[in-house]
Amino acid sequence: MITLRVRDGLSLRLRPRAIAVGVTCLLLALALSVLAIGSGDYPMSPADVLRALTGRGTPAEEFIVTELRLPRVVTALCVGAALAFSGAIFQSLVRNPLGSPDMLGFTQGAATGALVVVVLGGSSLALASSAVVGGLVTGALVYALSWRRGVHGYRLILVGIGTMAILTGVNGWLLTRAPLMDAARAVLWLTGSLDGRGWSNALPLLIALAVLVPLVLAGHGPAMRLVEMGDDTAAALGVRVERLRLVVLAAAVLLVALAAAAAGPVNFVALTAPHLARRMTRAPGPNLLPSAAVGALLLVGADQLALRAFPGHQLPVGVVTGVLGGAYLVWLLATERRAGRL
C-alpha cells in the first residue's frame, strides 16, 4: 500500500496492485469495445472507429458508430460493470463467495417483472420498468423476510435461495401463459441478450452507475471492509451496520434490476467477476472498482465470443456467460472445498 499525503488532514491510501488491475481491465474492455464497434457488416478499422467516436469521421460512419453499434457496446460495458459491482457488494455483505444476486433471487425477481409484461402485453419500456420494479420488490421482500433484529448473512442466503426457487417456478408458469410469439421473445430476454440495444437501454443504467457507484464508494466503502470482520467488530469501530447494509443492498439491487432491464438476466457475471478481481488484486475487502472493471471486460468479451464463436449464427450473450460462469463455479467449488472455506 502506498500513501499520498498532502497535509496531515488530506491523505489517501492506495493499493497500486488493485489500481493496476482495475485500470488494465478497463483499458482492455475499452480496446475490445473499439474492435467490437469496428466489426460487422460494414467493417471499420480501429482508427476509423476512434475518428468517428471523436466526431471526425464521415457522416455515414458516425451514424453507424454512434447510433447503431456504440449503444450495444455501452450497454455491455454498463451491464457488466453493474452486475459485478453489485455482486461484489452481495458477496461482501453476506460474507459468502456464493452470495450473488443470481443465486439469491433478485435476478429472477426482475425476470418475473418482465414476464408479467410479456403476458399482459406492453412496450419494451414497460418491460424494462417492470423488470426494475420486480427486482426491487424482490429485494425488499428478501430483506424483510430475513430481518430479525438485523439482517444476517446466513439468513439472507437461505431466504434468497428460497425466493429464487419460488420465482423460478412463477417464471415458468408465466411463460406457459404467454402467447407463443411472446413466449419466444421472453425466452430470448431470459437468456440475456444484447441484440438491438439502443441508447434507451444504456442510458438509465449509465446514470444509475454514475450516481450509485460514487455514493457507495465514498459513503460506505471503508465501512464495508470492517463489516467483513463481523457485525460486532464493525459496530465497535463505529459503523452503523444495519443502516449500511440497507443502503448498500438497495444500491446493489437497483443496479441488478437496471442491468436486467437493459440486457435480461445475464447469469454468472455477478458471481465470477468479484472472484476474479480478488484473485488478481490479492486485496482483502470487496474490491468494488476492480470488480466493476473486470465485469465490464467479461461482458464485452463474452458478447464478442457470442457473436463470433459460430460464424453465421449469433448466440445470446447470456449463453456464453452461463457456460463459462458455470464452469468457473464448478472449479471454484472444488478449490474452495479443498481450501476448507466451504
Binding site: M1, T3, R5, D8, G9, L10, S11, L12, R13, R95, R148, R149, A218, P222, A223, R225, L226, E228, M229, G230, D232, T233, A235, A236, L237, G238, V239, R240, R282, A283, P284, G285, R341
Partner: protein, 274 residues
Amino acid sequence: MQSRLSGTAMTLAYERRTIAQDLTVAVPDHSFTVIIGPNACGKSTLLRALSRLLKPTAGAVLLDGEDIHRLPARGVARTLGLLPQTSVAPDGIGVAELVARGRYPHQGLLRQWSREDERVVAQSMAATGVADLAERPVDELSGGQRQRVWIAMALAQQTPLLLLDEPTTYLDIAHQIEVLDLCARLHEEQGRTLVAVLHDLNHAARYATHLIAMREGRVVAAGAPREVVTAELVQEVFGLPCRVIDDPESGTPLVVPAARRRATSAPMVAAAGA
C-alpha cells in the same frame, strides 16, 4: 467512585427472552474490571449492553453521563472500544493492515492515513508484541498471536475505555496468561479502563482491580477481589464448595474447589449398584 461508563436499571433481552432485569452496574474509572459468573448468567449480555451492541429494553447505559444510544456511533467508538468474542480476519489480510483498521473512527474520506494513524498503529503493535509480525498474513499466526493482533487493533482505536469479551477463550494456559499480562500492562502503563468477561475465577481474582459477580441476571457482589472472592460467595454464585487461600505467587485470593470425597476405595460399579 468516578465512573464514565455505567448502566442503570437495565432490562436486557433478546427477542422474547429476558436475560436481566433492573440491572445496575458501574465501571470505576481506571479500573481493570472483570465480570464473572456461571454460564448463561448474563455477563456477556451485560458487556454487549455496555458496548452499545445491545439496546436495553428499559433503563439506559450512560457514557460520560449521556445515554450511549443517543451519541453518534463514531464518537462512541473514539471513547469506548470492544474486542468481541469472535472476529473474522478477512482472507489474506496482513497484521499491520488489520491493526490499521482500528483507526477507522479517527479517519475520514480525505483523511485516510495521517501521521498520527501511522504512529498509533506502530505503537499498538509494539505494545502487544506483534511488531515483528507486521507483514505476516493473519491466518498464518497461532491463536495467541492472533488474539494479540486483535487486541492491537482495539488499542489502535485509542479509547480510554476498552471492553473485552472472554479474551482468553480458545487459548492454552500460557497464552491466556500472556494475554492477561498484556491487559494488566495496558491498564497500569496506559491508564486505560478495562472491562473483561472471564471464565476463570482465579485469573479474575489475580488480575482484576474490581470484580462484578453475576448470577441469573443479577449482580451478586461487586468490589475488590479480596472482598468478593470468598468461599461463601463462590458457593452462592457458582454452587461450588471450595476453599479460598492466598495465591502463593501474587497474594490474591485463590479458589481451590473442594475435593470429591472418596470414603473408601470401593469400585464405582459397586457404588452404583448399591
